[in-house]
Symmetry: C2
Subunit: 221 residues, 2 copies
Protein backbone atom coordinates (compact mmCIF):
# COMPACT_ATOMS: atom_id res chain seq x y z
CA UNK A 1 0.00 0.00 0.00
CA UNK A 2 2.76 2.45 1.00
CA UNK A 3 4.75 1.67 -2.14
CA UNK A 4 1.64 2.10 -4.23
CA UNK A 5 1.07 5.51 -2.64
CA UNK A 6 4.65 6.54 -3.40
CA UNK A 7 4.16 5.58 -7.04
CA UNK A 8 1.00 7.68 -7.19
CA UNK A 9 2.79 10.65 -5.64
CA UNK A 10 5.60 10.31 -8.19
CA UNK A 11 3.01 10.36 -10.96
CA UNK A 12 1.46 13.53 -9.52
CA UNK A 13 4.87 15.17 -9.34
CA UNK A 14 5.49 14.40 -13.01
CA UNK A 15 2.05 15.69 -13.91
CA UNK A 16 2.47 19.03 -12.12
CA UNK A 17 5.92 19.49 -13.68
CA UNK A 18 4.51 18.78 -17.13
CA UNK A 19 1.87 21.43 -16.46
CA UNK A 20 4.62 23.78 -15.25
CA UNK A 21 6.59 23.27 -18.48
CA UNK A 22 3.47 23.94 -20.55
CA UNK A 23 2.73 27.15 -18.64
CA UNK A 24 6.36 28.28 -19.02
CA UNK A 25 6.08 27.72 -22.76
CA UNK A 26 2.92 29.86 -22.98
CA UNK A 27 4.49 32.70 -21.01
CA UNK A 28 7.49 32.54 -23.35
CA UNK A 29 5.16 32.65 -26.37
CA UNK A 30 3.38 35.67 -24.87
CA UNK A 31 6.67 37.51 -24.40
CA UNK A 32 7.72 36.76 -27.97
CA UNK A 33 4.30 37.91 -29.21
CA UNK A 34 4.77 41.28 -27.47
CA UNK A 35 8.15 41.74 -29.13
CA UNK A 36 6.96 40.81 -32.60
CA UNK A 37 3.39 42.18 -32.26
CA UNK A 38 2.36 38.82 -33.68
CA UNK A 39 -1.44 38.48 -33.58
CA UNK A 40 -1.34 34.87 -34.84
CA UNK A 41 0.98 33.84 -32.03
CA UNK A 42 -1.32 35.65 -29.58
CA UNK A 43 -4.33 33.86 -31.02
CA UNK A 44 -2.56 30.51 -30.56
CA UNK A 45 -1.98 31.23 -26.86
CA UNK A 46 -5.68 32.01 -26.40
CA UNK A 47 -6.85 28.98 -28.38
CA UNK A 48 -4.57 26.52 -26.63
CA UNK A 49 -5.37 27.66 -23.08
CA UNK A 50 -7.89 24.82 -22.80
CA UNK A 51 -4.92 22.41 -22.61
CA UNK A 52 -3.75 24.07 -19.41
CA UNK A 53 -7.31 24.17 -18.03
CA UNK A 54 -7.81 20.48 -18.73
CA UNK A 55 -4.51 19.53 -17.19
CA UNK A 56 -5.32 21.55 -14.07
CA UNK A 57 -8.58 19.63 -13.69
CA UNK A 58 -6.69 16.35 -14.21
CA UNK A 59 -4.06 17.15 -11.55
CA UNK A 60 -6.74 18.11 -9.08
CA UNK A 61 -8.82 15.03 -9.72
CA UNK A 62 -5.75 12.83 -9.30
CA UNK A 63 -4.90 14.51 -5.98
CA UNK A 64 -8.43 13.99 -4.68
CA UNK A 65 -8.39 10.36 -5.79
CA UNK A 66 -5.16 9.74 -3.90
CA UNK A 67 -6.50 11.53 -0.82
CA UNK A 68 -9.63 9.39 -0.89
CA UNK A 69 -7.96 6.06 -1.71
CA UNK A 70 -4.76 6.24 0.33
CA UNK A 71 -5.64 8.69 3.10
CA UNK A 72 -2.05 9.91 3.25
CA UNK A 73 -0.80 11.64 6.37
CA UNK A 74 2.01 14.00 7.40
CA UNK A 75 4.47 14.83 4.63
CA UNK A 76 2.48 13.05 1.90
CA UNK A 77 -0.69 14.90 2.85
CA UNK A 78 1.19 18.18 2.89
CA UNK A 79 2.65 17.40 -0.54
CA UNK A 80 -0.81 16.84 -2.01
CA UNK A 81 -2.31 20.02 -0.56
CA UNK A 82 0.70 21.95 -1.86
CA UNK A 83 0.23 20.46 -5.31
CA UNK A 84 -3.45 21.48 -5.28
CA UNK A 85 -2.40 25.07 -4.68
CA UNK A 86 0.57 25.16 -7.04
CA UNK A 87 -1.71 23.66 -9.68
CA UNK A 88 -4.07 26.59 -9.15
CA UNK A 89 -1.27 29.15 -9.44
CA UNK A 90 0.02 27.55 -12.65
CA UNK A 91 -3.43 27.70 -14.20
CA UNK A 92 -3.68 31.36 -13.24
CA UNK A 93 -0.28 32.07 -14.81
CA UNK A 94 -1.69 30.48 -17.97
CA UNK A 95 -4.60 32.93 -17.72
CA UNK A 96 -2.19 35.85 -17.42
CA UNK A 97 -0.40 34.66 -20.59
CA UNK A 98 -3.84 34.72 -22.25
CA UNK A 99 -4.48 38.22 -20.86
CA UNK A 100 -1.18 39.39 -22.36
CA UNK A 101 -2.06 37.71 -25.67
CA UNK A 102 -5.35 39.60 -25.76
CA UNK A 103 -3.51 42.89 -25.29
CA UNK A 104 -1.05 41.93 -28.03
CA UNK A 105 -3.96 41.40 -30.42
CA UNK A 106 -5.06 45.00 -29.80
CA UNK A 107 -1.49 46.25 -30.24
CA UNK A 108 -1.08 44.29 -33.47
CA UNK A 109 -4.31 45.73 -34.89
CA UNK A 110 -2.80 49.20 -34.79
CA UNK A 111 -0.95 50.49 -37.83
CA UNK A 112 -0.16 53.97 -36.62
CA UNK A 113 1.30 52.96 -33.28
CA UNK A 114 4.57 54.63 -32.52
CA UNK A 115 5.30 54.61 -28.80
CA UNK A 116 7.08 51.40 -27.90
CA UNK A 117 7.79 50.24 -24.40
CA UNK A 118 10.62 47.80 -23.80
CA UNK A 119 9.40 44.97 -21.55
CA UNK A 120 12.64 42.97 -21.96
CA UNK A 121 13.97 43.43 -18.42
CA UNK A 122 10.61 42.75 -16.77
CA UNK A 123 9.90 39.76 -19.03
CA UNK A 124 13.32 38.24 -18.33
CA UNK A 125 12.93 38.63 -14.59
CA UNK A 126 9.42 37.16 -14.63
CA UNK A 127 10.41 34.19 -16.81
CA UNK A 128 13.39 33.60 -14.56
CA UNK A 129 11.20 33.67 -11.44
CA UNK A 130 8.76 31.19 -12.97
CA UNK A 131 11.53 28.85 -14.11
CA UNK A 132 13.28 28.93 -10.76
CA UNK A 133 10.07 28.48 -8.77
CA UNK A 134 9.52 25.24 -10.69
CA UNK A 135 13.17 24.28 -10.12
CA UNK A 136 12.69 24.85 -6.39
CA UNK A 137 9.72 22.46 -6.56
CA UNK A 138 11.62 19.77 -8.50
CA UNK A 139 14.61 19.89 -6.17
CA UNK A 140 12.70 20.85 -3.01
CA UNK A 141 15.24 23.65 -2.69
CA UNK A 142 14.18 25.97 0.13
CA UNK A 143 17.08 28.42 -0.39
CA UNK A 144 16.15 28.92 -4.02
CA UNK A 145 12.48 29.31 -3.09
CA UNK A 146 13.36 32.02 -0.55
CA UNK A 147 15.43 33.90 -3.17
CA UNK A 148 12.47 33.94 -5.55
CA UNK A 149 10.25 35.56 -2.91
CA UNK A 150 12.77 38.41 -2.71
CA UNK A 151 12.84 38.84 -6.50
CA UNK A 152 9.15 39.71 -6.38
CA UNK A 153 10.03 43.15 -4.99
CA UNK A 154 12.25 43.82 -8.01
CA UNK A 155 9.39 43.06 -10.38
CA UNK A 156 7.08 45.28 -8.33
CA UNK A 157 9.59 48.12 -8.68
CA UNK A 158 9.85 47.60 -12.44
CA UNK A 159 6.05 47.59 -12.66
CA UNK A 160 5.88 50.91 -10.81
CA UNK A 161 8.54 52.37 -13.10
CA UNK A 162 6.84 51.24 -16.28
CA UNK A 163 3.53 52.49 -14.93
CA UNK A 164 5.02 55.98 -14.52
CA UNK A 165 6.61 55.95 -17.97
CA UNK A 166 3.45 54.79 -19.71
CA UNK A 167 1.28 57.26 -17.80
CA UNK A 168 3.55 60.08 -18.96
CA UNK A 169 3.35 58.78 -22.53
CA UNK A 170 -0.46 58.78 -22.39
CA UNK A 171 -0.39 62.49 -21.54
CA UNK A 172 1.87 63.17 -24.52
CA UNK A 173 0.23 60.93 -27.10
CA UNK A 174 -3.52 61.36 -26.72
CA UNK A 175 -4.04 59.79 -30.15
CA UNK A 176 -2.59 56.53 -28.78
CA UNK A 177 -4.45 56.22 -25.47
CA UNK A 178 -6.03 52.85 -26.29
CA UNK A 179 -2.69 51.30 -27.20
CA UNK A 180 -0.89 52.75 -24.23
CA UNK A 181 -3.53 51.41 -21.85
CA UNK A 182 -2.74 47.97 -23.29
CA UNK A 183 0.91 48.44 -22.31
CA UNK A 184 -0.17 49.44 -18.81
CA UNK A 185 -2.12 46.23 -18.44
CA UNK A 186 0.68 44.09 -19.88
CA UNK A 187 2.93 45.45 -17.15
CA UNK A 188 0.28 44.57 -14.58
CA UNK A 189 -0.06 41.03 -16.01
CA UNK A 190 3.70 40.49 -15.70
CA UNK A 191 3.52 41.64 -12.10
CA UNK A 192 0.73 39.12 -11.47
CA UNK A 193 2.79 36.27 -12.98
CA UNK A 194 5.59 37.21 -10.59
CA UNK A 195 3.07 37.09 -7.72
CA UNK A 196 1.99 33.58 -8.70
CA UNK A 197 5.62 32.42 -9.03
CA UNK A 198 6.12 33.81 -5.51
CA UNK A 199 3.07 31.88 -4.32
CA UNK A 200 4.58 28.70 -5.77
CA UNK A 201 7.88 29.36 -4.00
CA UNK A 202 6.10 30.06 -0.71
CA UNK A 203 4.24 26.81 -1.15
CA UNK A 204 7.55 24.98 -1.71
CA UNK A 205 8.92 26.53 1.48
CA UNK A 206 5.77 25.50 3.32
CA UNK A 207 6.08 22.02 1.91
CA UNK A 208 9.64 21.72 3.17
CA UNK A 209 9.50 23.68 6.38
CA UNK A 210 5.87 23.05 7.27
CA UNK A 211 5.44 26.69 8.00
CA UNK A 212 3.06 29.11 6.38
CA UNK A 213 5.12 32.04 5.13
CA UNK A 214 2.38 33.69 3.14
CA UNK A 215 1.17 37.19 3.96
CA UNK A 216 4.57 38.00 5.45
CA UNK A 217 3.49 36.41 8.71
CA UNK A 218 6.86 34.69 9.01
CA UNK A 219 8.92 37.38 7.30
CA UNK A 220 11.77 36.91 9.77
CA UNK A 221 12.68 33.71 7.90
Amino acid sequence: MAKHLQRELEKIKKLILTLGALVEERVHMAIKAIETRDADQAEQIIKLDYEIDEMEVEVEEECLKILALHQPVAVDLRFLTSVIKINNDLERIGDEAVNIAERVKFLAASNHFEFRFDFTEMAEKVENMLKRSLDSLVNLDVDLALKICLLDDEVDDLHNESYGTIEAAIKQHTDQVGHLINLLFISRHFERIADHATNISEEVIYLIEGEIVRHGISKEM
Copy 2:
Protein backbone atom coordinates in the same frame (compact mmCIF):
# COMPACT_ATOMS: atom_id res chain seq x y z
CA MET B 1 -15.07 9.33 15.72
CA ALA B 2 -17.64 10.04 13.01
CA LYS B 3 -19.56 12.40 15.29
CA HIS B 4 -16.34 14.14 16.23
CA LEU B 5 -15.55 14.62 12.53
CA GLN B 6 -19.00 16.10 11.93
CA ARG B 7 -18.43 18.59 14.75
CA GLU B 8 -15.09 19.58 13.24
CA LEU B 9 -16.69 20.06 9.83
CA GLU B 10 -19.41 22.24 11.37
CA LYS B 11 -16.69 24.36 12.98
CA ILE B 12 -14.94 24.77 9.62
CA LYS B 13 -18.20 25.78 7.98
CA LYS B 14 -18.74 28.48 10.61
CA LEU B 15 -15.16 29.66 10.20
CA ILE B 16 -15.37 30.01 6.41
CA LEU B 17 -18.70 31.84 6.71
CA THR B 18 -17.18 34.22 9.26
CA LEU B 19 -14.36 34.88 6.81
CA GLY B 20 -16.95 35.38 4.06
CA ALA B 21 -18.80 37.96 6.14
CA LEU B 22 -15.55 39.79 6.88
CA VAL B 23 -14.63 39.89 3.19
CA GLU B 24 -18.12 41.12 2.29
CA GLU B 25 -17.74 43.93 4.83
CA ARG B 26 -14.39 44.99 3.30
CA VAL B 27 -15.80 45.04 -0.22
CA HIS B 28 -18.69 47.15 1.06
CA MET B 29 -16.24 49.54 2.75
CA ALA B 30 -14.27 49.79 -0.51
CA ILE B 31 -17.41 50.67 -2.47
CA LYS B 32 -18.36 53.34 0.07
CA ALA B 33 -14.80 54.70 -0.05
CA ILE B 34 -15.05 55.13 -3.84
CA GLU B 35 -18.31 57.04 -3.47
CA THR B 36 -17.05 59.32 -0.73
CA ARG B 37 -13.39 59.50 -1.86
CA ASP B 38 -12.60 58.77 1.76
CA ALA B 39 -8.86 58.20 2.17
CA ASP B 40 -9.21 57.27 5.86
CA GLN B 41 -11.72 54.57 5.08
CA ALA B 42 -9.40 53.33 2.32
CA GLU B 43 -6.48 53.28 4.75
CA GLN B 44 -8.55 51.23 7.20
CA ILE B 45 -9.24 48.58 4.55
CA ILE B 46 -5.52 48.33 3.80
CA LYS B 47 -4.51 48.22 7.47
CA LEU B 48 -7.07 45.60 8.47
CA ASP B 49 -6.32 43.20 5.61
CA TYR B 50 -4.06 41.21 7.95
CA GLU B 51 -7.24 39.99 9.70
CA ILE B 52 -8.40 38.31 6.49
CA ASP B 53 -4.92 36.92 5.84
CA GLU B 54 -4.69 35.44 9.32
CA MET B 55 -8.14 33.93 9.11
CA GLU B 56 -7.29 32.36 5.75
CA VAL B 57 -4.24 30.71 7.29
CA GLU B 58 -6.37 29.53 10.23
CA VAL B 59 -9.04 27.97 7.97
CA GLU B 60 -6.40 26.20 5.94
CA GLU B 61 -4.56 24.87 8.96
CA GLU B 62 -7.83 23.60 10.43
CA CYS B 63 -8.67 21.82 7.17
CA LEU B 64 -5.27 20.15 7.05
CA LYS B 65 -5.55 19.10 10.70
CA ILE B 66 -8.93 17.47 10.01
CA LEU B 67 -7.55 15.75 6.89
CA ALA B 68 -4.62 14.39 8.90
CA LEU B 69 -6.55 13.40 12.03
CA HIS B 70 -9.81 12.06 10.59
CA GLN B 71 -8.84 11.00 7.07
CA PRO B 72 -12.32 11.84 5.81
CA VAL B 73 -13.55 10.27 2.57
CA ALA B 74 -16.18 10.94 -0.09
CA VAL B 75 -18.45 13.91 0.61
CA ASP B 76 -16.50 15.06 3.69
CA LEU B 77 -13.22 15.01 1.79
CA ARG B 78 -14.81 16.91 -1.06
CA PHE B 79 -16.18 19.48 1.39
CA LEU B 80 -12.71 20.12 2.83
CA THR B 81 -11.01 20.49 -0.54
CA SER B 82 -13.79 22.90 -1.58
CA VAL B 83 -13.30 24.93 1.58
CA ILE B 84 -9.54 25.14 0.89
CA LYS B 85 -10.32 26.69 -2.48
CA ILE B 86 -13.15 28.96 -1.41
CA ASN B 87 -10.89 30.15 1.39
CA ASN B 88 -8.32 31.10 -1.22
CA ASP B 89 -10.88 32.97 -3.33
CA LEU B 90 -12.15 34.88 -0.30
CA GLU B 91 -8.65 35.99 0.60
CA ARG B 92 -8.13 37.15 -2.97
CA ILE B 93 -11.37 39.13 -2.87
CA GLY B 94 -9.98 40.78 0.26
CA ASP B 95 -6.87 41.66 -1.78
CA GLU B 96 -9.04 43.21 -4.50
CA ALA B 97 -10.77 45.36 -1.84
CA VAL B 98 -7.28 46.49 -0.82
CA ASN B 99 -6.40 47.18 -4.47
CA ILE B 100 -9.53 49.34 -4.79
CA ALA B 101 -8.66 51.12 -1.51
CA GLU B 102 -5.20 51.95 -2.87
CA ARG B 103 -6.77 53.49 -5.97
CA VAL B 104 -9.19 55.48 -3.79
CA LYS B 105 -6.24 56.94 -1.88
CA PHE B 106 -4.86 58.28 -5.16
CA LEU B 107 -8.28 59.62 -6.16
CA ALA B 108 -8.73 61.29 -2.76
CA ALA B 109 -5.33 62.99 -3.03
CA SER B 110 -6.53 64.93 -6.05
CA ASN B 111 -8.15 68.31 -5.53
CA HIS B 112 -8.70 69.27 -9.12
CA PHE B 113 -10.37 66.07 -10.19
CA GLU B 114 -13.52 66.59 -12.18
CA PHE B 115 -14.38 63.54 -14.24
CA ARG B 116 -16.49 61.19 -12.15
CA PHE B 117 -17.44 57.71 -13.13
CA ASP B 118 -20.50 56.11 -11.56
CA PHE B 119 -19.61 52.60 -10.40
CA THR B 120 -23.00 52.12 -8.65
CA GLU B 121 -24.43 49.52 -11.03
CA MET B 122 -21.22 47.51 -11.23
CA ALA B 123 -20.66 47.69 -7.46
CA GLU B 124 -24.23 46.56 -6.74
CA LYS B 125 -23.97 43.62 -9.10
CA VAL B 126 -20.60 42.56 -7.68
CA GLU B 127 -21.74 42.84 -4.05
CA ASN B 128 -24.86 40.89 -4.93
CA MET B 129 -22.80 38.15 -6.61
CA LEU B 130 -20.52 37.86 -3.60
CA LYS B 131 -23.42 37.77 -1.14
CA ARG B 132 -25.30 35.16 -3.13
CA SER B 133 -22.24 32.99 -3.71
CA LEU B 134 -21.89 32.79 0.09
CA ASP B 135 -25.65 32.10 0.39
CA SER B 136 -25.27 29.25 -2.10
CA LEU B 137 -22.52 27.85 0.11
CA VAL B 138 -24.55 28.16 3.34
CA ASN B 139 -27.62 26.53 1.82
CA LEU B 140 -25.79 24.26 -0.63
CA ASP B 141 -28.08 25.74 -3.28
CA VAL B 142 -26.94 24.55 -6.70
CA ASP B 143 -29.58 26.57 -8.60
CA LEU B 144 -28.46 29.79 -6.99
CA ALA B 145 -24.81 28.91 -7.64
CA LEU B 146 -25.57 28.34 -11.33
CA LYS B 147 -27.35 31.72 -11.56
CA ILE B 148 -24.30 33.49 -10.15
CA CYS B 149 -22.07 31.98 -12.84
CA LEU B 150 -24.35 33.58 -15.44
CA LEU B 151 -24.21 37.00 -13.72
CA ASP B 152 -20.48 37.06 -14.34
CA ASP B 153 -21.10 37.85 -18.02
CA GLU B 154 -23.12 40.92 -17.02
CA VAL B 155 -20.25 42.24 -14.94
CA ASP B 156 -17.85 41.55 -17.82
CA ASP B 157 -20.10 43.60 -20.11
CA LEU B 158 -20.23 46.47 -17.60
CA HIS B 159 -16.44 46.34 -17.30
CA ASN B 160 -16.06 46.58 -21.07
CA GLU B 161 -18.49 49.52 -21.15
CA SER B 162 -16.75 51.41 -18.38
CA TYR B 163 -13.42 50.69 -20.03
CA GLY B 164 -14.62 52.38 -23.22
CA THR B 165 -16.06 55.37 -21.38
CA ILE B 166 -12.93 55.94 -19.29
CA GLU B 167 -10.65 55.49 -22.30
CA ALA B 168 -12.62 58.21 -24.12
CA ALA B 169 -12.36 60.44 -21.04
CA ILE B 170 -8.57 60.01 -20.97
CA LYS B 171 -8.36 61.33 -24.52
CA GLN B 172 -10.43 64.37 -23.54
CA HIS B 173 -8.87 65.16 -20.17
CA THR B 174 -5.13 64.76 -20.57
CA ASP B 175 -4.58 66.71 -17.35
CA GLN B 176 -6.35 63.91 -15.45
CA VAL B 177 -4.69 60.84 -16.93
CA GLY B 178 -3.37 59.55 -13.60
CA HIS B 179 -6.78 59.75 -11.97
CA LEU B 180 -8.58 58.22 -14.89
CA ILE B 181 -6.19 55.27 -14.95
CA ASN B 182 -7.19 54.66 -11.34
CA LEU B 183 -10.83 54.42 -12.44
CA LEU B 184 -9.83 51.96 -15.17
CA PHE B 185 -8.16 49.72 -12.59
CA ILE B 186 -11.08 50.00 -10.15
CA SER B 187 -13.32 48.66 -12.90
CA ARG B 188 -10.88 45.80 -13.44
CA HIS B 189 -10.77 45.04 -9.69
CA PHE B 190 -14.57 44.80 -9.60
CA GLU B 191 -14.45 42.43 -12.52
CA ARG B 192 -11.93 40.27 -10.64
CA ILE B 193 -14.15 40.14 -7.53
CA ALA B 194 -16.96 38.90 -9.76
CA ASP B 195 -14.58 36.23 -11.12
CA HIS B 196 -13.77 35.05 -7.61
CA ALA B 197 -17.46 34.99 -6.63
CA THR B 198 -17.99 32.87 -9.75
CA ASN B 199 -15.18 30.55 -8.64
CA ILE B 200 -16.89 30.16 -5.25
CA SER B 201 -20.20 29.31 -6.94
CA GLU B 202 -18.51 26.81 -9.25
CA GLU B 203 -16.92 25.25 -6.20
CA VAL B 204 -20.34 25.00 -4.53
CA ILE B 205 -21.72 23.29 -7.63
CA TYR B 206 -18.76 20.92 -7.64
CA LEU B 207 -19.30 20.22 -3.97
CA ILE B 208 -22.93 19.32 -4.60
CA GLU B 209 -22.74 17.69 -7.99
CA GLY B 210 -19.24 16.30 -7.76
CA GLU B 211 -18.52 17.64 -11.18
CA ILE B 212 -15.90 20.13 -12.20
CA VAL B 213 -17.67 22.93 -14.07
CA ARG B 214 -14.72 25.26 -14.22
CA HIS B 215 -13.25 26.40 -17.53
CA GLY B 216 -16.65 25.88 -19.17
CA ILE B 217 -15.87 22.19 -19.56
CA SER B 218 -19.39 21.31 -18.41
CA LYS B 219 -21.16 24.35 -19.83
CA GLU B 220 -24.13 22.25 -20.91
CA MET B 221 -25.16 22.01 -17.24
